[in-house]
Amino acid sequence: MVWVVEVKAAVFMGQEDVQVLNVPKPSIRSDEVLIRVAYCGICGSDITAYKTGNYVVGLTIGHEFSGTIEKAGSKVEDLKVGDRVTGNAVIPCCRCSFCLSGKPSLCESMEMPGVTANGAFAEYVKFPAMAVYELPEELSLLDAALVDPLACVLHPVNLSSFKPLDSVLIQGAGPLGVLTLETLKKSGAGKIIVAEISPGRKRLAQDLGADIVVDPREENLPAIIERQTNGLGIDILFDTAGVPETLSQNFTLVKKGGEIIVVGITEEPTPSDFFTVVLNELTIKGAYCGFNEYPSAIEMLSKGLVSAGRIITSIIELDEISEKGFKPLMEPIKECKVVVEVGGG
């Protein structure tokens, strides 16, 4: 008789249906580690999947996690049992032309734990050692749940032409929005305007140093930008909201020769103003994930350069993931980042 050890995990069962079930404890290969999960944050992509049902049924979701290594495969050299770690949400093949040219976010056969393979809203997750990072002592396991979203912010910032004193508009003050705000603020940005409709997130953006916070449903954002930039428009716009209304509006908010960096994803068709793109010689860039930026994200969080304690607005238990996690985040009023305490630490 073969005994199957089971562990608890949040399993995607379809649109607006995530259930905490018993699943087999992962077994590892020689180049992998088994991680006892401490915390795992709910990502915007998890919310999108919850809303649309676009993940595979039966998948254990979650990829913004931290934990402790419980077991290491025989070929794993740099990590050991007991190490406090996080794992990269992108596992690139390291062989394709994109990986070899230093662009693993464009990998042709990447795996994404919690998206294409079982993830970390579970007591245990397995990971290839090459995508696992040891955490410094000064970084708590709770705060380490922000490593992935911060890496996903550092990647677009690195892709952009941002330079100190640039004026910036950030569309959306969810986790990616406020992390962008803090990153740019500490990088010497000029005026930072944040557009957000949720009252709680607006307050958070204000507290974290936004120069101006605008509710675009109530206020005339273009008029405010006009005034604040002496009619020039914004130097660089980061769209972390990823909704058609803001994406369509962006084109006329940046200055001539300005740049729009799209981070937030929408599945909906979005009217686009290429008239203005041509007339004003705009640059539009997309930014996906942040494989290369994990070490920097870990270092920034370790040095306290990010207000993790403010951005994480709720810590919930795994059994509460639907009621206190996904449902409130469908239309967030006060929540920013919700983190699930799995094993804690």
């Binding site: 449903r217 008029a223 930008i225 006009e226 084109f251 908010l253 007339l279």
Partner: protein, 141 residues
């Protein structure tokens, strides 16, 4: 009438709604607009002027001074607006040369160019007193 005075805005609304040709061209137009007329202190125009109006199926239903959320925000220096209102510069040219900045759904506003041209013709019939040095271009009855 002083440009953007309450009296002036009332006249704009009345003349627009009384003009059959404009109403026909603007039929089906449902949008709100903010105009930002930027100060030019060196020419005696000390303060920005912000006004807005709403059009519903070609009829101007509301017009106001100040800033509200609208579908379009159109901005430019005072002198650019004077040139447009006096017919020295076409609105399309002002837009294409970026002297006038339009923020909003450009495709929608470009499709309304005939209605906009007619509307400007109406505005050019309103006796208008401009501010500062631009007083020399006042529109007389």
């Amino acid at each position: 009438m002083e440009l953007a005075s309450k009296e002036y805005l009332k006249e704009v609304m009345e003349r627009s709604n009384a003009d059959e040709k404009y109403r026909e061209l603007a039929k089906g137009e449902n949008a709100s607009y903010t105009f930002m007329i930027q100060a030019e202190p060196h020419k005696g125009v000390e303060k920005d002027i912000v006004l807005g109006y709403t059009v519903e199926d070609g009829v101007t239903t509301d017009i106001w001074l100040g800033e509200r959320k609208t579908d379009f925000t159109i901005s430019g220096k005072y002198g650019v607006w004077v040139n447009i209102l006096t017919g020295k510069t076409g609105v399309t040219k002002a837009f294409l040369t970026r002297k006038l900045r339009v923020r909003g759904d450009l495709m929608k506003i470009l499709k309304l160019s005939a209605a906009t041209e007619r509307w400007l013709e109406i505005l050019r019939t309103i006796p208008t007193e401009f501010h500062g040095e631009y007083a020399q271009y006042n529109i007389k009855e």
